[in-house]
């Protein structure tokens, strides 16, 4: 075993985790006994694997920060690692910045504000501006397969790196697919064995790689995962302190599938189990090196080793060099953030209107709780403007119910809560009429279940006709002509309302009566749950007679990424089930009585109504209205014109960004948006959370009169009713992490579209029915947002700014959370988000452990000249 030593002095880059026994190995080159070596290999592999963030499947697509496992380092350090290990950009490209700078969107004041954040000794303004002319010079470390790929004809075929990614990706797709292939493989031996078997029967990949004799080298394949890991770490002779980095670099060549495996690991961890797939995937990628080495003469092999060793021996230097070069990009990122923050501060500074502050004492006629989602902000603002009798509040869209939902008479259970949590409560459907029951309730459930079973049986038989080859041949002859109608529908999309797939197969007479309800909870637990949710929402006193719980959902057709537009807090579903289950719980007379017993001040006339905000068309629909008492129904009906007018205002606000004319008539604009929602050829049904930039945790009074352009998450919080800070702790450890995930998914998909974006929708090819997409034929599994979700064809619609979190709470309470939760501390200290605090009428930012004035809070910049938000 060959070990290269690196002097500790040339080691400015310190890895986050401790490295057991690094010194004695690298310094003395001691041969290790087997057990300890195995332990070290395990450690390195575990560390590399833990660097990969999970990617949820398409039907549960929630946003994730792809660097989530790397937040233990500063953004710049991570940017350096990504550049050196994989050539992945983290900061916005200098081209993008240059354009913003030259167009005047980024001002000298922004640059100054950004530089004020840097420790002294950073690049000066002139250096920053000069650097925009060329990309940063960043070193890159090669992998063994890159070094081996050296024959003169290599430019006339796929590079081995590309080809290997392609082969590994195809194998993973076959292994993990459960819903696409009708003829499934045997996969009992695990992923590594499956890949080994697949490769030994693959005679095509060699041709693409310029290695027609590849199949004769297969004997060189390590037999199992442990051998593969051991082979590379022993044979390659890298210094031990770069093992984990080398392995992470290897995993980043198949980052898409690695992220899928990390998701399986995340799910397993929630069940208290471990998942082996990510380690298998790493071993597969390593085994490819063994295979390619087999074809080389000893001399060439030694040369390759020497090249890799020499390059990686300099890894700490390369990382330091990259980190240094990226100082400029860090400043520009901060300048981009400052551009937005300047406006945010201005708008929030003038926001606290006297009406909002005094209004808190008067009982409102209607309260409406919306999801914190950025798309709720324009709707809430519009509702408040249209009708002062309504008061809105923001809360996570799963409404605090940690549930999994199973549609009636099916096995299709799905989580409806944030990805950070595991479901603890079941929700199922009940069939329930409004008036007197005609029979025992369960009879209706059974009858509806049987009716659905019959419908499904018919569907199954019809599906068989186009599924099996023999049947499909004759099916198209007999029934192909009936597709004329379906084809014609592509010409002009309909204005139909949102399809409700969880009711599929239910006869229409049951559809209106099918209501989701919490299952299996006794009165005590239901009351406890209700009390907990009401307290968290700040709905303990002063409730309006009508309280709306408004979830949200998107409407799009032929969209593989539809779930990414739905509610992230409901795990990529609409908020309908959560809102309805909660409204039902809170309207339950037994629960209400119990809550009063527990001292909650719930007015007897208060009624809860579940609703859904359609974020594509900005319409609001209500549920279970037939169960409401007459007064509540009248109140709801009186709201209809309010919803219509508010929706119209929001649609007008959104229209220009969608390429629609905001001066179009009310009905026509709504019709255009409905058509867009049903248009299967539309790659941009709505802009989702593009533009998201801030998270405000404060009472609505702090933001009520500010126009925040649908770029802010809003969560209500009143520190006066949270003396022990427990609610604040919850908000900073759950919703704040979720908003950070969303913010960085958009950031990473914009700045590194080739690695953390899913590419071009026009080429998307759904893998495994739900796992993810390929761009075209193959390549790696593509995770993140598509180009069409971020870019309108001419410019980026999302500006890659880091989230600004503004909290209305005492400094001590915030600092207490920072002190207790390492994750929150890391996010703030390492520059993954900005932390602000409301201090009376001022805003302060948290920097280097202190609360400071904002660098632009003197409002030196007149409002009129503030650059446009996007």
């Amino acid at each position: 075993m060959q070990m290269t030593t690196v002097p500790e002095s040339a080691h400015p880059y310190a890895p986050a985790a401790p490295q057991p026994g690094m010194d004695d190995v690298s310094a003395h080159g001691v041969l290790l006994d087997d057990g300890r070596l195995q332990q070290r290999i395990d450690d390195a592999c575990t560390r590399a694997c833990s660097a990969i963030a999970p990617a949820w499947p398409l039907d549960r697509a929630i946003a994730v920060n792809p660097h989530w496992s790397r937040i233990g380092r500063s953004v710049r350090a991570v940017a350096a690692r990504m550049a050196v290990l994989a050539g992945i950009p983290v900061f916005p490209s200098r081209d993008y910045i240059r354009e913003a700078w030259q167009s005047g969107a980024l001002s000298a004041a922004d640059l100054d504000a950004a530089r004020a954040l840097q420790p002294s000794g950073g690049p000066d303004a002139a250096a920053c501006i000069a650097a925009l002319e060329q990309p940063a010079a960043l070193p890159r470390l090669p992998l063994l397969i890159d070094v081996l790929d050296d024959d003169p004809s290599r430019h006339e075929r796929l590079s081995w790196r590309q080809a290997i990614t392609h082969q590994v990706s195809q194998t993973c797709a076959a292994y993990f697919d459960e819903h696409q292939a009708d003829w499934q493989p045997e996969r009992a031996g695990g992923l590594y064995a499956f890949w080994r078997d697949t490769l030994s029967h693959d005679h095509g990949i060699g041709v693409l790689m310029g290695l027609p004799d590849l199949s004769r080298r297969l004997h060189a394949l390590p037999a199992d995962r442990a051998q593969a890991e051991r082979w590379v770490l022993e044979r390659l002779g890298l210094p031990e302190h770069v093992w984990a980095d080398y392995l992470e670099s290897v995993l980043l060549t198949v980052n898409g599938w690695a992220s899928w495996c990390a998701y399986l690991g995340w799910e397993a961890a929630q069940r208290g189990e471990q998942d082996p797939h990510l380690r298998d995937l790493l071993a597969i990628r390593l085994a490819w090196g063994a295979l390619l080495l087999e074809g080389k003469a000893d001399e060439a092999a030694q040369r390759s080793f020497a090249t890799v060793q020499a390059a990686w021996a300099r890894a700490p230097l390369a990382l330091a060099q990259a980190e240094d070069a990226l100082r400029i990009d860090e400043v520009w990122q901060a300048a981009l953030d400052a551009r937005y923050q300047r406006q945010l501060a201005l708008r929030l500074g003038s926001a606290s209107s006297p009406r909002a502050l005094e209004g808190a004492a008067v009982r409102p006629e209607v309260q409406a709780a919306f999801c914190i989602d950025v798309r709720s902000e324009p709707m809430r603002r519009a509702l408040e403007a249209v009708w002062p009798g309504i008061r809105t509040l923001g809360f996570a869209g799963f409404f605090g119910l940690p549930i999994a939902y199973t549609p009636l008479a099916t096995d299709a259970r799905r989580p409806q809560l944030p990805g950070l949590l595991a479901p603890a409560i079941e929700v199922s459907d009940r069939i329930e009429g409004a008036g007197a029951q005609t029979g025992p309730a369960h009879d209706l459930d059974r009858a509806a279940g049987a009716a659905r079973g019959r419908q499904f049986a018919g569907q199954r038989s019809w599906r068989a006709a186009s599924r099996w080859p023999g049947a499909a041949f004759s099916f198209v002859e007999a029934a192909g002509v009936s597709y004329v109608g379906k084809l014609a529908r592509w010409l002009r999309p309909s204005r139909a309302a949102r399809a409700r797939d969880h009711l599929d197969g239910l006869p229409s007479r049951y559809r209106a009566l099918c209501r989701p309800a919490l299952a299996g909870l006794d009165l005590d637990s239901r009351a406890a749950l209700a009390a907990r949710v009401l307290r968290a929402m700040g709905l303990e006193r002063g409730l309006a007679p009508l309280v709306l719980l408004v979830g949200h959902g998107s409407q799009s057709a032929n969209n593989a990424h539809a779930a990414a537009l739905d509610c992230g807090a409901c795990c990529g579903q609409t908020g309908e089930v959560n809102a309805r289950a909660l409204a039902r719980l809170l309207n339950d007379a037994e629960v209400r009585a119990e809550l009063v017993q527990r001292g909650l001040d719930l007015p007897p006339d208060t009624v809860f109504v579940a609703g859904l905000h359609n974020t594509t068309t900005d319409e609001i629909e209500g549920f279970d209205l037939d169960l409401l008492p007459a007064e509540a129904q009248a109140r709801w009906n009186a709201l209809a014109p309010v919803f219509a007018q508010a929706g119209d205002q929001v649609r007008r606000e959104r229209a220009p960004r969608l390429g629609l004319d905001p001066r179009t008539g009310h009905g026509e604009l709504l019709a255009q948006l409905r058509r867009r929602a049903n248009d299967g050829a539309q790659t941009r049904p709505e802009w989702g959370l593009a533009g998201n930039a801030a998270f405000i945790i404060a009472s609505r009074a702090r933001s009520e009169s500010a126009v925040l352009d649908g770029r802010t998450f809003l969560h209500d919080y009143d520190s006066a009713s949270d003396p022990d800070g427990s609610l604040l702790e919850l908000l900073m450890t759950a919703p704040m992490l979720v908003t950070h995930w969303i913010n960085w998914q958009y950031h990473a998909s914009t700045c590194a579209p080739d690695h953390f974006g899913s590419g071009n929708k026009l080429l998307h090819n759904v893998v495994g029915g739900r796992i993810g997409v390929f761009e075209g034929n193959g390549g790696d599994l593509r995770v993140g947002l598509s180009r069409q979700s971020l870019h309108d064809g001419e410019r980026w619609v999302h500006a890659p700014v880091r989230l600004t979190v503004a909290i209305d709470a005492p400094a001590a309470a915030i600092e207490r959370v920072l002190a207790t939760h390492a994750v929150v501390r890391q996010l703030v200290d390492h520059g993954w988000l900005h932390l602000w605090r409301f201090d009376g009428a001022r805003l302060l930012r948290y920097h280097a452990g202190q609360w400071q004035d904002l660098p632009f809070s003197d409002a030196a910049v007149p409002v009129a000249s503030a650059p446009t938000v996007q």
Binding site: D59, R140, L141, P142, D146, D149, H155, E156, A174, H179, Q180, A181, W183, P185, D202, H203, G204, V207, P212, A311, P407, D411, A412, A450, G453, A457, G458, Q459, R460, S461, W462, A465, P469, G470, F473, S474, V476, E477, A478, A479, G480, V481, Y483, L487, W490, L491, D504, G505, N558, G680, A681, N760, L763, N765, V766, V767, G769, F774, G776, G793
Partner: protein
């Protein structure tokens, strides 16, 4: 094949001429975006109207002025129907693209190439002369090539285009050889003259060789095994291009076979070639399709299998069925491709449905029941297709009657009866639809051949048996699954050959891997 006497041959070229306008617009006009697409849509709709109006005018109007173009163009009910189909599908694809491509660079080139494909297809459909046919077919390929390489920086797009090019040029050579042989024998390049000659004198050895060349050219052009690889790999172009390719271009070989039926009928060797290539492709590609893990690749393999079946029908002499297959498959597959991203929603719906294997008794009984249904309906309605075809249909419909091995407890046995009942109703409906469609006035007649029919029946029985084993004892087939998953190594062989015979640079110069410093 029936054709109408053309008082004005030029009129038959009207749709093609109309589609030439947007083709040139894309090149010459400065219009961009919505304006460009609006012009395309209008012209495309006009061409669609023309495909509907021209046959009516030709049929009704006597003594129309204009050049007759005898011996160069001809139009019959079948080719007129095909023109309507291709233009309708092309219009839908164009309108879809106009919204789908918003924000993409290169839309003018796209409009131009799309119109070019449609114009060339129209010429090819009415071509009554070898030269026109060969040139138009080659033009279809050339215009399509530009669409397939819409993203010219994607290596697999270029590799697929290269492989397609090789097959196409080979097919061109075969067609030229066939044309030379026929022209020499008949003394005219007109296809109508060729049919008249065959009817009068039968097929000489030279014409038999010509028929074989045509059959082989179709096998190459229709993405049958072994030249199917490119069609699997063109997922590298925008979705509507795949829809156009799978619905309007790859099946043109079928149109040629149906038009050449007067010649092919007299050349058993050519028919056997079609039966063997078609049946082998239908069976093998059908099995490969079941192993695919991404939606578009599954659809592509499905097309290969379907094309195999269509060519098989031509070989069997079931020209009416082949024509119906062409039309039905076009509509079905165009929609399936455009809707490819619905796959996720579809999966969610299927997860509610629940996946179940079929029970053994239902696997055995289903073909018996379907055979009885098809026979009864055929007897009742007086449909006269050969007995072996009745059995092929019975095997085809059998999966509709497969019942789950273990019924979901919530639904109980009631659901199984429902499925059996609704399945039988569907079988009856499909059979009647097939029978009705068979009577469409396409101007074609079947000339079924019993010996090849028996071979086809045997093949389809084998396929059914395979499906039945897959439902009940999947582990018996694990070696076959591996072969199927590998596509039976056919494309590997073809790619190796293609790159060996005709080396090409198919990787755009990109710095994919880090350089060694």
């Amino acid at each position: 094949m029936e054709t109408w006497g053309l008082k004005s041959g030029a009129l038959a070229l009207l749709p093609a001429l109309l589609m030439c306008v947007p083709m040139l617009l894309g090149r010459l006009s400065a219009a961009e975006g919505a304006a460009l697409w609006q012009r395309f849509t209008r012209l495309s709709a006009a061409a669609l109207l023309a495909t509907l109006a021209v046959p009516a005018v030709l049929w009704l109007g006597e003594g129309l002025a204009g050049p007759r173009l005898d011996g160069w163009v001809a139009l019959g009910p079948f080719t007129a129907a095909m023109a309507v189909l291709v233009q309708a599908v092309g219009t839908v694809i164009g309108v879809f693209s106009s919204r789908y491509l918003q924000g993409e660079a290169g839309q003018r080139g796209y409009v131009s190439a799309l119109s070019g494909v449609l114009a060339a297809v129209h010429v090819m459909l009415v071509a009554d002369h070898w030269l026109l046919l060969i040139a138009a077919w080659a033009l279809v390929g050339i215009a399509l090539q530009r669409l397939l390489c819409f993203y010219a920086d994607r290596p697999f797009a270029l590799l697929a285009a290269h492989k397609k090019n090789l097959a196409d040029r080979l097919a061109d050579l075969l067609l030229i050889a066939a044309a030379a042989l026929a022209w020499y024998t008949v003394g005219s390049g007109s296809l109508s003259d060729l049919w008249a000659h065959v009817a009068a004198h039968g097929a000489s050895p030279a014409l038999q060789a010509a028929a074989l060349c045509v059959a082989l050219a179709v096998v190459l052009r229709t993405a049958l095994l072994p030249a199917h690889g490119w069609i699997i790999q063109v997922m590298e172009a925008p979705t509507p291009v795949s829809a156009l390719l799978h619905a309007g271009v790859v099946n043109l070989g079928g149109v040629v076979l149906i038009r050449f039926s007067p010649l092919l009928d007299t050349v058993p060797a050519a028919r056997w070639l079609l039966v063997i290539a078609g049946l082998a492709t239908a069976l093998l590609a059908g099995m490969v399709m079941l192993t695919r893990v991404s939606i578009k690749v599954r659809l592509a393999w499905s097309t290969v299998a379907q094309m195999g079946f269509m060519v098989l029908e031509c070989g069997l002499g079931l020209y009416v069925f082949a024509a119906l297959h062409l039309i039905g498959h076009s509509l079905y597959k165009a929609h399936a491709f455009l809707a490819a991203s619905t796959a996720v929603r579809d999966t969610r719906l299927r997860m509610m449905l629940g996946e179940q294997r079929a029970s053994l008794p239902s696997l055995l009984l289903a073909p018996v029941l379907t055979a009885a249904t098809v026979l009864a309906l055929a007897g009742w309605t007086g449909i006269d297709w050969p007995a072996w075809w009745t059995l092929v249909l019975a095997l085809a419909w059998a999966p509709l009657l497969w019942l789950p091995a273990s019924a979901a407890p919530a639904a109980g046995s009631q659901a199984a009866w429902w499925q059996a009942g609704s399945g039988l109703a569907a079988v009856a409906l499909l059979t009647l639809a097939a029978g009705l469609a068979h009577h469409l006035p396409l101007g074609l007649a079947d000339r079924p051949d019993d010996l090849t029919g028996a071979v086809a029946l045997a093949g389809m029985t084998l396929l059914y048996a395979g499906m039945a084993v897959l439902q009940t004892r999947p582990h018996w087939l694990s070696a076959w699954r591996r072969l199927s998953y590998a596509g039976f190594y056919v494309d590997e062989f073809y790619t190796r050959l293609a790159l060996g015979l005709w080396p090409a640079r198919w990787v755009p110069p990109v710095a994919a891997a880090p350089s060694q410093s």
